[in-house]
Amino acid sequence: MTASTRKRWQFRQPSVIPGFGLALGVTLSWLILIILIPLSGLLWRSSALGWSTFWTLATDERTINALRISFGTAFAAALVNVVFGVILAWVLVRYSFPGKRIIDAMVDLPFALPTAVAGIALTTLYAPNGWIGSLLTPLGIKIAFTPIGIVIALVFVGLPFVVRTVQPIMEEIDKEVEEAAATLGANRFQTISRVLLPGLTPAVLTGFALAFARGVGEYGSVIFIAGNLPYVSEIAPLLIVIRLEEFNYPAATAIAAVMLVISFAMLLVINLIQAWSRRRYGYGA
């Protein structure tokens, strides 16, 4: 099988390793069956709506607001995560302090903890009668059931993405570069801002994009804390669910298609960042 593939077409470079046909066959059929057919079903269903229907549904005021809230809060959360994620990664890579191992391991908690659990836990903390919420209520700050609550939930789910993309790159920074910078007269602040951070840019951007992408689609942790007020704190995935529950399939499909297209665009951007970074910095974030 291997030989015939090779002779027929220069689809792949020759190799003595067997099993290409089988492995690629399994991969492709699984991919097509589980991912591509269902996803193209969605795109097909939305194209079957016709452009004008699709456009009316996609630009429905409530839909636009839900998309705006989803993307806006995800963007804000990703920004917060970039700031604290980089600090956290820096602290974990450079300093030693008691409990560092545990903190390092706990960074992945949002990744391992089911989102519904995160949702009810965060709501319990930030609700007006919760541990943190009750401290903030007298100050007139409301977190749960407002867009800020959504940001909090998305900060939680997005954290590991930033830390885990930045951390390995930081570990590989050559101390000599910093020493050279210092020798050449840069102070510490200049060394960090002019020498170290630019090298981390692709990793930070990738981490940002991953956290952002995850935040846009997040559902489980958000619905408990958001309050779900249309036009105020209703996220796009929830609106899809509501449309589904109303059995308004066309509307659900249209919102999903819009989100899907944007997700693909984001995926493309992430890949471009990585390609650019490989060319410029020699690592693929």
Binding site: V26, I35, P38, L238, V241
Partner: protein
């Protein structure tokens, strides 16, 4: 931060100065560590603590009572069942994909890798929706399925499909960079010594990647057991039948049954903690193998 460093380091030859120049002042260090710890405390540790505290609010007795509820028990069983089906399927796929992508050079490889990552960037809700559109009564398949009495939505097959979709990339993503890093020389040596393809895979490749594989399985399993959005869309929420543990948490929570909701949540949190501990152990012991996949 800047003012703590007195002079450009070049003027002072002492080793102490050099050290200062490549690390921050003590104050800056404490501030940064403090910030990082506060952030972790506020966003990660406190929610975790809240889960356990709320579950134990009325003492361990009630905690155990609510866990012995038959509906909770059936949710646990369903969650395990789904994971037991979905994870091995994705292991087979992940190994096959990694073998094809890491061991061979072919056209469209980068595109294929992107496609595999696709589920990561799709909202879980959409992951469930696509199966509703595929198998629901409005779909092309729907009437045929109903006519033949095949239940996919609101039943175990739908839940499994949605879970497989969501956890699709986990194993492959861990294995691809690892196998790429290891190259093909071991396999080539085995083959030149007369081993068959399967022998090479079982005795050479698999031992090489087993810790990375286990790592991938661990993450895949955590997500499979914890998936909420996708499963929620296809489940039908039948108590004792199609409620997985995360859905049971939601239902109990919406019934004001907070202690029970948090008790089930505790089990899921423990699962997450066990996952993290095993993951850290793997990372400590087999850092080289896993470092490759952590760099993705």
């Amino acid at each position: 931060m800047a003012h703590d460093i007195p002079d450009p380091a070049g003027h002072h030859g002492t080793s102490e100065m050099v050290r200062t120049a490549t690390s921050e002042s003590r104050l800056a260090r404490y501030v940064l560590i403090g910030l990082a710890l506060c952030f972790m405390g506020l966003f990660v540790l406190m929610p975790l603590a809240a889960v356990f505290t709320e579950a134990m609010r009325n003492g361990p007795g009630e905690f155990l009572t609510v866990l012995s509820d038959p509906e909770t028990f059936s949710a646990i069983r369903l969650t395990l069942l789904v994971a037991v089906i979905a994870v091995p399927l994705n292991v087979v796929f992940g190994v096959a994909a990694a073998w094809a992508i890491a061991k061979f050079e072919f056209k469209g490889k980068a595109f294929l890798t992107t496609l595999i990552d696709l589920p990561f960037s799709v909202s879980p809700v959409i992951s469930g929706l696509v199966f509703i559109l595929l198998f629901g009564s409005h779909s092309l398949l729907g009437p045929w399925l109903q006519g033949n009495g095949i239940q996919i939505l609101f039943a175990v097959p739908g839940i499994v499909l949605a879970t497989v979709f969501v956890t699709f990339p986990f194993v492959a993503r861990e294995l691809i960079p690892l196998m790429q890093e290891q190259g093909t020389s071991d396999e080539e040596a085995a083959l030149s010594l007369g081993a068959s393809g399967w022998q090479t895979f079982w005795y050479v490749t698999l031992p090489n990647i087993k810790w990375g594989l286990l790592y991938g399985v661990l993450l895949c399993n955590a997500r499979a057991m914890g998936e909420f959005g996708a499963v929620s869309v296809v489940s039908g929420h039948i108590r004792g039948l199609t409620n997985t543990m995360p859905l049971q948490v939601e239902i109990l929570y919406n019934e004001y049954n907070f202690v029970a909701a948090f008790a089930v949540a505790t089990l899921l949190a423990l699962l997450a903690l066990v996952t993290l501990v095993l993951k850290s152990l793997l990372e400590m012991k087999f850092s080289e193998q896993i470092a490759a996949s952590r760099r993705h």
